[in-house]
Subunit: 327 residues, 2 copies
């Protein structure tokens, strides 16, 4: 299998992307790693070039602040766009990028293309849970508004990904809502509920925002707006609490000494709740596999995204989703 890495996207590009790609090539010799980007910048970063790693030159870069649709349309030789075109033309089985999220979704839609039968591709990152298993949440921002049928497609795609790629048998699918009773919700979730019930998935009903961290489901279905509010308020609350704890724990010498004892515990807790730790997010519903790696990805995160892409490709993810959608 062939996995293209956008070598130029992300806060630590190209260094981390190149290093992560190199590590991946050495670990998984059954995969061909294709580093897409400025060859003159990539080559010096490679201490060695394994036989299953190659560079595909791309002269342009999509910047973090670039307007997504315009930049994807105009920068035809951008590393991200070139990688997308390789997936489209079946020159790669998957692509990974840590670059501009909006531009990557646009690349998915306009370059890779939608899977027949899917109206809206969805971005599906992991949200951390206390038990460490995490929940695959979609859509987290590919589209702000959704119709009931879109939520049903998210449910189906998320269920297949969680099972085939992440190895969760019979994953529990929950619908993000304001109460657990079937009749609760806004117009969207009320109409989506019976559609989800009718799918060949393990639909466990509505789940409330306050229970997500407790791991009440394996896949969380929501529209992009609600998903963003959920994720950002979890992040904001955790970050505020940790910063308040830090302030109060350093307020006196006595506190400082006590806090020093507890610091390893605090750090562990912070890591549990850090969604950046939880790897790349697939963009589901495309005619090929696109994985969004976090903007701040280091080499380990890039390698981790390759691991995910590799499992997804081996499991025939895209064909599996396509089969279910077209049925």
């Amino acid at each position: 299998m062939r996995i293209a890495i956008d070598a130029m996207g992300g806060d630590h590009a190209p260094d981390s992307n190149v290093l992560g790609g190199l590590q991946a090539a050495k670990e998984w010799t059954d995969a061909e790693i294709i580093l897409v980007g400025d060859e003159q910048r990539i080559r010096p970063l490679l201490s060695e070039i394994p036989s299953n790693l190659r560079i595909v030159h791309a002269s342009e870069v999509i910047e973090p602040d670039d307007e997504p649709v315009k930049s994807v349309r105009r920068k035809k030789d951008a590393s991200m766009v070139v990688a997308g075109r390789m997936v489209k033309n079946n020159e790669a089985d998957a692509m990974i990028s840590a670059g501009n999220t909006g531009a990557l979704m646009t690349t998915g839609l306009l370059v890779v293309g939608r899977m027949p039968g899917i109206e809206r591709p969805a971005l599906a990152p992991m949200i951390p849970t206390i038990d460490g298993h995490g929940v695959l949440a979609l859509d987290l921002g590919a589209n702000m508004d959704a119709k009931p049928e879109h939520l049903a497609q998210y449910a189906l795609m998320g269920s297949i990904y969680r099972e085939k790629v992440q190895g969760v048998a019979n994953p529990r699918i929950g619908l993000l809502n304001v109460g657990t009773e079937a009749q609760k919700g806004n117009e969207l979730t009320k109409e989506a509920f019976p559609l989800l019930e009718a799918l060949p998935i393990n639909f466990v009903g509505n789940v409330e925002a306050r229970d997500i961290l407790n791991g009440v489901c394996d896949v969380l279905v929501c529209d992009g707006f609600a998903g963003n509010i959920l994720l950002k308020s979890m992040e904001g609350t955790a970050s505020a609490i940790f910063s308040l704890l830090k302030d109060s724990f350093t307020r006196s010498l006595k506190n400082k000494l006590a806090a020093a004892v507890l610091m390893p515990e605090l750090r562990g807790l912070k890591d549990t709740l850090d969604y950046k730790e939880h790897g790349g997010a697939p963009l589901l519903g495309l005619n090929g596999l696109v994985v969004k790696s976090h903007g701040s990805s280091d080499a380990g995160a890039i390698k981790n995204a390759v691991r995910q892409a590799r499992v997804a490709v081996s499991s025939g993810l895209v064909a599996n989703i396509s089969k279910e959608v077209i049925q």
Copy 2:
């Protein structure tokens, strides 16, 4: 002024409601406190009956699990409904209830009645912020779906309440959104943005869920669904972190000793983030003042709700909102 208290609603009713009402009557002798409910249960709880306190008998009670619309329609002599009717008939200037939230909103709509010009009344509780000032958020659950014009009305009503009742000069109004840029959002927020810009309020633009705790605005405008997701995920995250902290801090004797030193700090932090501490939530946009006190209200919380109602009535809140809306 006359303030009616639903003596039978809430987890600690009638005891806390009666005690809170009695304390309020003794503190604010310019207010008449009317305890509405089962006289035979209320009277024995009163150690004294000040001249500005009286009981209005109501033979029925709306239970926490009662279906809101049905119960309000059928239980015409329920304490909540009788209190609502007193506001409607100008026999009371405000009512307070710690009972069934859905039933109270129904009482507001069907018994007290909407203010002319307001399509959707909104529930406006305080969300805690790190600086302790809190943010008034609306709508938090009176209606799940909203149209852009509803969000504009929420903004106007929230601004007036925050200024007149809570004494915040020129309150900053924020629109809950997925990014701070003006063009961000779903269809609802994108259409609401220019409407909020056109209002005679201090609109500070879009605010992100992760910044709410940092006090980036004084009034947060959102639809009921998004507001619920925001509030519940903040609650869930805080509660999960505190429970994880508790677990890890008791894992060893060393940890326990260190944690004992920090316990007062932790408790203070927990209180800061406990939105129950932040008093009653007005139901804005009605033809009279209705205040929802938390279901777990003790006497202090009931008294606190009377304080809020008293300020709101003194400031001519309802007339002020009405004047702005009709302009």
